[in-house]
Amino acid sequence: MAAPGMEPERYELDERPAHVFALDRRELFRVLGGGVAIALVLRGDAHAQESGRGRRGNQMPRQVAAWLHIDAAGAVTVYTGKVEVGQNIRTSLTQAVCEELRVPTEDVELVMGDTDRVPYDRGTFGSLTTPVMSSHLRKVAAAARTTLLGLAAERLSVDATTLEVSAGRISHRASGRSLGLGEIAAGRELLRTVLDDEPVADAAQWTVSGTSAPKVDGAAFVTGQHDYPSDVTLPNMFHGKVLRPAAFNATLASIDLSAARALADVTVAHDGDFVGVAAPTLDAAEAALASIDAEWSSPQQPDDRHLFDYLRTHVIEEPQEGGFGRTRSEVAGALERGFEAAAVTVQASYEVAYIQHIPLEPRAAVASWDDDRLTVHTGTQRPFGVRAELAEIFRLAEERVRVIMPDTGSGYGGKHTGEAAVEAARLARAAGRPVRVVWTREEEFTWAYFRPAGVIDVRAAAKADGALTAWEFHNYNSGSSAIGTPYEVANRGVHFHRTDYPLRQGSYRGLAATANVFARETAVDELADALGIDPLQIRLRNLGVGRLRDVLVAATDAFGWAGRAKTRGRGAGIGIGTEKGGYVACCAEVEVSSGGEVRILRATQAFECGAIVNPMQLRSQIEGGLVQGIGGALFEAVRFENGRILNPRLSDYRVPRFSDVPEIQTVLVDRPDLPSAGAGETPIVGIAPAVGNAIFDATGVRLRALPLVPNGLPKRA
């Protein structure tokens, strides 16, 4: 469940379970074994876990042993609830440990996201791994190192200050004696408490962090050896398929399972509106599914052509029961006085479409039951959240559920929920053997969730010299991330309005920052145009000294903004933003053909997030965010009608490809004096406004909707 302080647009965390299984009584007792002990996991309890007030609390375990173990041979195992979905924290966390423990990276293995083996973690999202988990594991490793130093000093009968730690060994230079860390630890539990202020190296002293260490286990990925969740195979495993409703919010009116039940080796599960099959091969499961005759009834539902009207006319005024400050408002100064004092006022509405994450690996899960224990291998950014989901739905104590999270084929915020895990578990129970469920691309498009659509109304005003005097900003539905303005303006009214919404929606890379930064940076550009001021100058006019100003200067310098030539059919634009400790400034140059085709020629993106932990992989995140952002900026949009997605496939939903990617110049701004922040999200927010503003610069056409040019530049009337 969404917790206090969490962004309101994480709608997926606050949903009721998709299925309420009746769970045949005999099955229930067979699964639980004798001496039934059912622990009911209440929604409140699940919520408490997310907020940190549950049994585990939000304090990380204090003992080194919960996080790190060294065996007799010196192999280091680190346990973390964070998971790897392509952001390469497996590598950066390894670097953090190696920095403090002074062992080679080859000696360290991370166990990530196995709920039986790692401490509780709320989930891998929110750009939190680097600032929170990385800094914590540094302290854990430092605590381990000093503990081992103490043990070595005893063993060697010397003072600990005469010992050095390097390359996995502790040495006494004077006598030439040394011990391997494994010899000292000898596989024992390290019961040292990690201090909040455990001394760790400053970034300026780093020799492992801060380097471009290559992707740990990279060889397994380039050889096809890595087992993704959809590759996991268990003995006697069947393949599962789920009958999908004909539309959203549909109920099963009638069903004929006789043909499916007649097939040899096919298990059919029918529990309420859940209908699924399991069979020895994928072919057989698909054939069984196809044999099912089902009728669904669903209510009339909105379509995308009326989406933005729908959002405007379905504002939810009352706070939701159980919600936590869902409405985000910030008011300062006196707005109307600010408007009166202005030379120009811009008033505009911006519209942002629904888009889908499209993780290249769709949802996948392999579930198996062993008496009353459920084990599920699945790709998710919240293994403990999925564990809670499974425990609730199957009415098990959480200790009876194990979720294992193999490094997964991406998520981008779209894999916070455990649908495939629940489906596989239900089918495995019915079949009495392990079942693997892998969603098709159409299923991943349709039955997961979308980045919320939104309407944003902006009214902004400035004096003749560009100084902002009033800023009024209303976001409907998409969310409150980056809703505040980083520009200095005394008179502000910033509001997020919850609305009813037609599609299942939730977290996305950058959340609502992708929408809010687009609206804000376009509005600022509109003010600049109204005043005849350069877009860089108006931003500098309203930004104090600080990190955002620094990246803006770095990007525009590298881009050559000041001296840029004005070429017919070409234009340049700027978009900047800050979220979650990351600061981004993007400059883009576009070319617009006489036929209205828009091409991004080049982009420069400057990014700063404190001390850089891995420059090469930081570049990958910055470029990756920009490239993914090109899709949402230019052409991605979910089309829907009456509870159906109209374009749930790659042949109908355009994503960025090789030819869509411009020359990208990435400027890393390193601030070793500042704590490291995350880079998974903020790099996505600058490209859409930069390109929109560039299109205006090139053509004089102001575009206020994302996607900007799904069919090329609109023809002028």
Partner: protein, 180 residues
């Protein structure tokens, strides 16, 4: 809004024209070995590789030949195995990612991907490497423009495209002046 479903220059977006109708396939050649199978000839090669032969290095991304995660080589040419029936590869040589470095030594392109950090989640990587390897065999010094045209059919949602091009270029012989 319809995206343009691109067809790459080497035709790797589509299935091969079927030869004579084959009902059941008894043997295919995968990674240098003749493998006995017993499969309906219409079954997509991707599922034969993954489920019948346990070669899970080729991946499912879309099932309609639009993302390239399933790319394997058939007689050295990249094909989307999700829309290529196993009947159409009978009598031909199939190479998967598992067969690229048979002696455990990484192929130069695999090494280049690691060196250039040309992967994040890695799910598209098999398809990218197989297509890249075929491209280089066909043209040892491709321009950036040619790389983009030939690889266009493969999606990298993590957005690693420019580094994939860099990786391919790093193992190419000196490329000609860019023809972009």
């Amino acid at each position: 809004m319809k995206s343009d479903a691109r067809s790459t220059a080497d035709g790797s977006n589509g299935a091969i024209e079927p030869a004579a109708t084959i009902r059941r396939v008894a043997e295919i050649n995968v990674n240098g070995a003749d493998v006995a199978v017993e499969i309906d000839s219409r079954k997509p090669l991707l599922w034969v590789l993954r489920d019948d032969l346990g070669l899970t290095g080729s991946h499912y991304g879309c099932g309609e030949g639009q993302c390239g995660a399933c790319t394997v080589l058939v007689d050295g040419t990249p094909r989307r195995s999700c829309i290529t029936s196993v009947g159409d590869v009978a009598g031909r040589v199939v190479t998967t990612i598992e067969g690229l470095a048979p002696n455990g030594r990484l192929h130069p392109l695999q090494q280049a991907f690691l060196r250039e950090d040309a992967l994040q989640c890695g799910y598209c990587t098999s398809g990218m490497i197989m297509s890249g390897a075929a491209l280089l065999r066909r043209n040892p010094s491709p321009s950036r423009g040619e790389i983009v045209r030939r690889m266009e059919g493969i999606v990298c949602r993590c957005g690693v495209y420019n580094r994939i091009v860099a990786a391919i270029q790093s193992v190419a012989e000196t490329p000609p002046e860019d023809d972009q």
